[in-house]
Every structure is written in C-alpha cells, then in structure tokens.
Amino acid sequence: MSLVWVLIALAGAFSLAQVAVFRGETVNAAWLLAAAVCIYLLAYRFYSAWIAAKVLMIDSTRATPAERFDNNRDYVPTHRWVVFGHHFAAIAGPGPLIGPTLAAQFGYLPGTLWILVGGVLGGAVQDMVVLFLSTRRDGKSIGQMARDELGRIGGAAALVGTFMIMLILIAVLGLVVVNAMKHSPWATSTVAATIPIALFIGVYLRYVRPGRVLEGSLIGVGLLLLAVGGGGWVASHDTLAVYFDHGPVPLAWALIVYGFAAAVVPVWLLLAPRDYLSTFVKLGTVFLLAFAIAVLRPDIQMPAITPFIDGSGPIFGGSVFPFVFITIACGAISGFHSLIASGTTPKLLMNERDIRMVGYGSMLLESLVAIMAMIAATVLDPGVFFAINSPAGVVGAELTQAVATISNWGFPVTAERMEQLASEMGESTLLSRTGGAPSLAVGMASIFSAAFGGGLLALWYHFAIMFEAVFILTTLDAGTRVGRFMLQDLLGNVVPALGRTSWYPSVLLCSALVVAGWGYFLYIGVIDPNGGVNILWPLFGISNQMLAGIALAVATGILVRSGRGWYALVTGAPLAWIAFITTWASMEKVFSSDPRVGFLAAAQRMRDQLAEAALPPEQLKVLPQLIFNQQLDAVLTLFFVAVLWTVIGAMLVAVLRHNGGRSTRPLAESPYVRSRYAGPA
C-alpha cells in the first residue's frame, strides 16, 4: 500500500514540476489536473488523517447528535456517502467557477497554486474542524458557537457579517447572469425557460409523484436541454427574438422582480425543484468537463504569469498580492462553508469517523472544480479571454478599438477573430461580457466540442450558460430566503410579530427588504461603466474571507482551550494568513490612490469628473449615485475588517486567559455517550 502512495507522490511532484518549473512553450492542462488530483489524494490520505487522529482526536465510539437526538426529522443517522452528497451539493455553488476565471488575468500559476495550497491547508481544514466542533456540540451553528466561545459580540458579528455576505454574493451573482444575458435572446430565453421548468417539476414532485426526485430531476434535465435548443430557435426567430433582447438595466430589474417572487412563493414550488435540477446539472457537467479535459488534454494558452500581476489588470484592479487571495475564495477557502458544516450536516453524521470524508473530502472536490474552471479559462487564447472579460470602460466599447488595446498589451487578437467566435457561439458579440460566466462558457464549449466532435459550439456555449445560470439562480433564491430568515430573526427582537417566520406580512416585508438590499448593489453594478464586477467581486471575497476568519478563530480558540497546544496551529496558521491578507486587501481597496483599486480614490476622481463635466451627459447623470456607492463600499470594507479583528481579539483574550491559568468560559462540548454503532467495548 505504501508503494502506491510513494508513486502518487512522485506523479504529483512530476506533474507539479511540469506546471510550475519546467514551463516550456505551452503546458498541457492534463499536468495541471494530474498535479491537483495527486495533491488532493496525498493531503486526504495523510494530512486529514493526522488531523482526525492527533488534533481532533476523533472518537468512533462516541455517539453523534444524529444518534443521540434521532427524531426521524432533523436528526437522522445517515450513510456517509449520502451525507457527503448532501454536503457537497450544499457547499458547491457558482463561486469556484467565477473566482478562478477572474484571477486568470494574473496567469494560470498564481491562482492555481492558491487553489491547491489554500484548499488543502485552509478551506478543507476549516470545513472539517467546524464540522467536528459542531458535531461535538449537538449540531450548533457557527454563530451559536461564536457566542458560546467569544461572547455576544462575537456571535453578533458572525450574524451581521453573514447577512452582508449574502446580499453582496447575490448581487454579484445577479450581475454575472445579467452580463451573460444582455442582448442575447438565446441566453435570455433559455434562462427564462428554466423558471417554468422548475415550477413544473415542483408540482410534479409535490402532487403527481411525491418525492420521486430521481425521475423528476431527469425529466427536468431533459426539458432544460430542450430549452437550450429552443433558445437557438427563439434567437433565430425574427419577432420572438425581440422579446428576449434586452439591455443590462431592464434585465437587472427583471431579476429583482423574479428574486422577490421566488422568495415569497412556497419552497416546494420553485426553490426545491431548482435545487434538485441544479445539483444534477452541476454534477453531470463537472464530471463531463473532467472527462473531456482528460480525453482532449488541451494546451494552456495563457502564460504562467502575466504582466498584470503589478495591478494594472483590466478585469479587476490590484496586484497579485494580496488580490489573488480574495478573488479566489470559494475553491481555496470559503467562510460560507462553515454555515453548512455547522448546519444540516452534523445532524446527519452517523459516526465521527465520517467527519474526515464529509468535511475534508467534499472541500477537495470543490477545489477540483475550481481547478477545472481555471483550465477552462486558460485554454482560451489570452487575447480572446481578455476581450470577453475586460469591461468597456477599460478597453472601449468599439470592437476595433478594444482589440487594438488588448493586442497592445501583448495578447494579440483581431476583430475578425472576435466576430467569428461570436457567430460560432450564436451570439451577436462576446466583447466585454464580464463576470466570468461567458468566458467560462466559451472555454467549456471549445473543450466539449473538440472532445466529443460534431462542432455544435453554439449549443455547447448556451448549455454552459444555462448550467451556470441554473445554479446561480438557485443560490439567488436560497440566499434571499436565508437572508429573510436572518432579518426576521433580527427584527423579531424589536417587533415580535415580525419574527414569526410564517406570518405572511412579515414574509413580504422582510423579503422585500432583502431583495432591495442586493438589488441596490446589483443596479449600481449594472450602471457602473467599469463593470460592477471590479467592485463587487473583491467586496464579496473580503466578506467571505472575513467569515472564514471568524470560523477559524472560533476553532482555534476551542482547540487551544481543549488543551491541543501547538496543534491548534492547523487552524491558527490559516487564520493568521487569512487575517493578514484580507486586512491588506481591504486597506488597499479603501485607501489605495489608484482609482481602479481604492474606493475613496475612485470617489474622488468621479467628483473631479463631475466638477469638470468631463464626461458625456448620460454618464454624468449617474455619477452622484456611483460616488455614494464607492463611499458605501469603503465603509462596508472597513466594517468587515473591524468585525474580523473584534472576533480575533476576543479569541486571543480567551486564549491568553486560558494559558495564564485564569478561569474562562467552560467548554461547551456535550458529554460522552457511547455509540450503538461502536461495537463491543
């Protein structure tokens, strides 16, 4: 057996050397995939096993909450593969597809290394440790654990932070979908068709064949594929196409109205079926993509490192340090996962042994998804990649002007190439379709089309758009609902009636407030000439890393206080790195004098433009709104940093008191109960 692991280690080292050291003219994507898989296998086999045995001291004879509180409802001992499936479906969203695509502007290497190192040493450890701590505490949420461990301020910080992340996450995802749909009747009609399909499956699963998830989902996936083909027919139809041809602002409004409607209809009607469909489509597509990359073994076209590591990149401003670390959150380390790992999952675990596979293992799979997104982005011709992802405010709205600018950067691309590509993909233009989804779709379409033959680029492209849109909209629906629960919980402290989650006036009011919250950021993102991605994605990254910081701080505090000593560094070291890099990035986002990076500098430049009337009137009109928004973003960023350091400070106080031998809060771990599944003692 140990020979196998030596071979895996050698294969991994050789693949990584191909990727990182012996970079020839081009590197084959298969090396990247092989290096990643070997690293994940080794990390899982050795690091996670060591953490389980030595740091967490997992005890397979100890009954889990699922066993102790087994009520056949929330607490149900479940087979580990089923828990793994549910946990992975819950943590895997669109984040790991978008972040790596945007970070590819630095070249393929910085993002890839961070995904691998961050995933193995940071994200997977966070997920596993939080899952362990919650399992030992009857399935308590990370917010409750923060309150128990760090006091009320820590708990409140976790709650408010989570709520803000939710708003920003939904806004930026909405922006990604809007950018994929703007002036594209094919994409818009396909995405629109997913709504009635989800409704139909919802009714089917509730009334026609209750609970037959497999057949319902298969029918739904079939209908989604028809919708992809049907979208092509709509786009080629002279009168129908007009109904689905819209600019970004009306599409943003449509999304806001949809988000509100989705939040107030019953879950079984829209959210649940959409969730099933997106899980099926996502798993299918991810495996298909892995298979296609393995079969096709495409060469990576993007250089390992581009000149944009100095911060002058067109997709978002800021240098590779610190910005690659907040651009790629999901896939490397995502604070959000701590909510899932301390939510449903610990209430299903049959045995503590499963924590390693469910917590550490599913994060590795998510990290692999991020690697594949990086591959799909970097097998594109870099000139094409930058033409799709650079906002019009940077490269210009005219095709000839934009390709000239991008070619001048050293990434040659021609207007004919872009026009030909757009027509192959069945679109009128691909220029400045920012947000990552369209370029990922072009990359996936090229890979699928070449691997499976038969061309059909336009179909594959819109299939990929549908795939991304379906689970972006699932996150949008689910996130709005979660935000509503949080708000109701919060407002219930002031007006008790508002806290009743099923009281319809409260549902309507709180849903409207949540939708207005993300709708505001979405609208500002849409009207921003530099494309709101440049603003919203870093804000999302910072807030997500802040939540990771909170989760790691709670974990580190508990590990130290339970006498794990230096072993607490398994979470303490990632915490130190996340705190350092997130604070650095936040300071740059607020105070940098480069208006493409610093919020305050951007606001100042807009004030100057307003004073000099240096822009066309329609752009001047929106400037006051944009100035206000830049200042709001600065305040938000500072708030996130303040929350992060408040929590870290509270943790350090608890740790110092403990080490000084003074009394601290009792550890909230539940008492040992012997498991029925443990076998004879």
């Binding site: 087994d70 056949n72 409802r73 929330d74 149900v76 087979h79 593969w81 089923v82 499936g85 819950a90 943590i91 895997a92 969203g93 669109p94 984040g95 996450l169 995802l173 699963l205 509730r206 009334y207 209750p210 609970g211 037959r212 998830v213 497999l214 989902s217 879950v267 079984w268 959210l271 649940a272 969730d275 099933y276 959150a329 999901c330 995502s334 959000f336 996962h337 909510l339 899932i340 939510g343 449903t344 699932t474 996150t475 689910a478 996130g479 609902r481 979660v482 629960f485 989650t501 999302f540 997500n544």
Partner: protein, 75 residues
C-alpha cells in the same frame, strides 16, 4: 392523518449482475433522497409504530419545509 401507503420495499438482494444493478440503483436512490419515505416508514415502525404515519405527499412537504429553513446553499 391519512392512510399508510406501503412503499416498494427493496427485495432481498439477489446475487450476480442483477444484484449489483439493484445495489447500484439503491445507492443512487439513497443519494437523491428517493428512498427518504421508505426509510422514514421503516424507522417509524421501529420507533413508535402506534403513531399516525404521514402519506408520501405529506412527508415530502414536511421534508421540504424542514430542509429549507436554514442555510441550504453557499456560494
């Protein structure tokens, strides 16, 4: 309150390729949650058989309500 509906209980697993196919199908149904109602019935019988049993439709509705009352999905 409603009549109990007998679910299609899995047959005892036969050997050979048919058995393997059956096992594969069962694992897929476990992963998708198709067997949730059957497992609920089994566990209900084992724990408190005297109480009323939910119908498949009622059980599905309650399951959905339960599953979507917390954080269900990340980024």
């Amino acid at each position: 309150m409603s009549a109990a509906v007998t679910p299609d209980r899995p047959e005892p697993v036969p050997g050979g390729s048919a058995g393997r196919l059956r096992a594969l199908l069962d694992s897929i149904r476990a992963l998708t949650g198709d067997d949730a109602y059957e497992r609920y019935l089994q566990r209900h019988q084992a724990t408190h058989p005297e109480q009323a049993v939910l119908s498949p439709a009622e059980f599905y509705a309650a399951e959905i309500e339960r599953r979507y009352s917390g954080v269900t999905r990340c980024c």
